[in-house]
């Protein structure tokens, strides 16, 4: 008789809480439309893996389908790399080519990654229950949430801190969706209304040479491969997707990467990440701190971009609206929309959308480069 009700007897309160968390993620995806493709799939994966016996993971010694997907798609880093091919095929670097000076905001707004790494290490050394964070690899995985780039976060966390993959992924995707709520208060706190009203010179609508569009992904891959060889799986996949898009002779493949590949891998990636969110891994104080530090990383990113714009304005004749610096994070296109909305609030005749989009696209590139550099530098600084 006990065997008949094993589902009831194996249920515990921790699993119930995790299933509720899964439910909240699904609610956020459907009701609030916060990154629905990821949060819904992660949420359902969370429910599946926390059901009694977790047969989707393992049953009587045989691996379940989620364990097979996890071992073959996440542990091998295959899913994030495939997602990067799809993202590359979706990326239009055109706005960045038209206004290349905005590229530097794509670098400045990665400040949050590194500032959060320092904070994580500091907390790890001074708070006993966070002692794991004193390990530079774990701290780097937490800091990389600031890349505002889900696949990069997953890639780095898989390599450096697989134990925290679940909370890091959830934080990365959740905060990307919450950019419209996170950035405005930070921007208001560190810019004056006069600065937000600042108008910028109109960007010339020049066409971009086709040869540049085609050669750029190759140049980026080669340079990244020389500067940080370990970053090639990330940047190489992203640029491969972009080359397929821009070459002009592989339209069918480009569309397949943008739609079929993106959809299929996202589906599998989300549910598989959800399967890493078991009660024993997720229900601990470290998870809450990781979620909080992800928010801190986004705040530092925003501030980094704005302060860099203010710094440049000390030397430039044609001043830059400091808010544009905040668009240097990778959350595209949410961040550039937020900046334009705030510019319009400050002055209904202020249009900075072109510059903000350029910075935002540059952020997509900058975040992957920063991820690659973290992957390259951290192993040099720690003893494995």
């Amino acid at each position: 008789m006990e065997d008949l009700f094993i589902g009831f007897t194996a249920l515990n309160w921790q699993s119930v809480i995790m299933m509720l968390i899964g439910g909240v993620l699904i609610w956020l995806a459907i009701a609030k439309e916060y990154e629905p493709t990821l949060l819904l799939t992660i949420g359902f994966g969370t429910i599946l893996v926390n059901l009694p016996m977790a047969a989707v993971w393992e049953y009587e010694g045989a691996p379940g389908f989620l364990k097979i997907l996890f071992e073959s798609g996440i542990e091998t880093e295959l899913f994030p790399v495939l997602i990067f091919i799809a993202v590359g095929a979706m990326c239009d670097f055109g706005p960045m080519f038209k206004n290349p000076v905005m590229m530097f905001f794509g670098a400045a707004a990665q400040f949050g990654i590194f500032a959060t790494i320092i904070l994580a290490v500091f907390l790890g050394q001074h708070v006993s229950f966070l002692s794991d964070f004193a390990d530079l690899k774990v701290a780097a995985s937490i800091g990389i949430i600031g890349a505002a780039d889900g696949p990069t976060s997953i890639f780095v966390a898989t390599r450096f801190a697989p134990k925290y993959l679940g909370p890091i992924s959830v934080a990365a995707y959740s905060y990307m969706a919450l950019v419209p709520l996170i950035q405005p208060p930070v921007i208001r706190a560190i810019t004056s209304k006069k600065e937000r009203q600042m108008k910028m010179a109109v960007v010339k609508d020049e066409s971009v040479p086709k040869s540049l569009r085609i050669c750029f992904p190759i140049v980026v891959t080669v340079i990244a491969g020389i500067v940080a060889p370990i970053s090639v799986p990330l940047i190489g996949a992203l640029m491969f997707g972009n080359l397929v898009r821009e070459c002009g002779v592989l339209e069918r493949l480009s569309l397949a990467a943008q739609h079929e590949l993106a959809n299929l891998v996202t589906l599998l990636l989300g549910i598989t990440i959800g399967s890493s969110m078991t009660a024993d891994r997720f229900l601990n104080p470290q998870t809450l701190v990781i979620l909080a530090m992800g928010l801190v990383a986004f705040v530092f990113d925003t501030a980094g971009g704005i302060f860099f714009a203010k710094f440049l304005n000390l030397f430039l004749k044609n001043k830059i609206n400091p808010m544009v610096g905040a668009a240097g994070i990778s959350a595209f296109p949410m961040s550039s929309r937020v900046i334009q909305r705030m510019a319009t609030e400050a002055d209904p005749n202020n249009f900075v959308i072109m510059q903000a989009v350029s910075a935002n696209v540059s952020g997509q590139l900058g975040s992957v480069i920063a991820g690659g550099i973290v992957l390259a530098l951290v192993p040099l600084l720690v003893f494995f």
């Binding site: 670098a107 790494i117 290490v121």
Partner: protein
């Protein structure tokens, strides 16, 4: 550079390592973006789309 990395790797201060990571990381990201910027700026404008 190798010697500097070796000294920092031998150091017991993880905060020091994280600060080094920040300085190097930001410098590297900017340096790479400068190369991309120059690539775009210096690209011949002929043969437009």
């Amino acid at each position: 550079m190798n010697q500097l990395i070796e000294v920092i790797r031998q150091s017991d201060s993880t905060v020091g390592k994280a600060v080094f990571l920040m300085i190097c990381g930001i410098l590297f990201v900017f340096a790479v973006q400068v190369v991309f910027y120059l690539t775009i700026k210096l690209w011949p404008k002929k043969g437009k789309e």
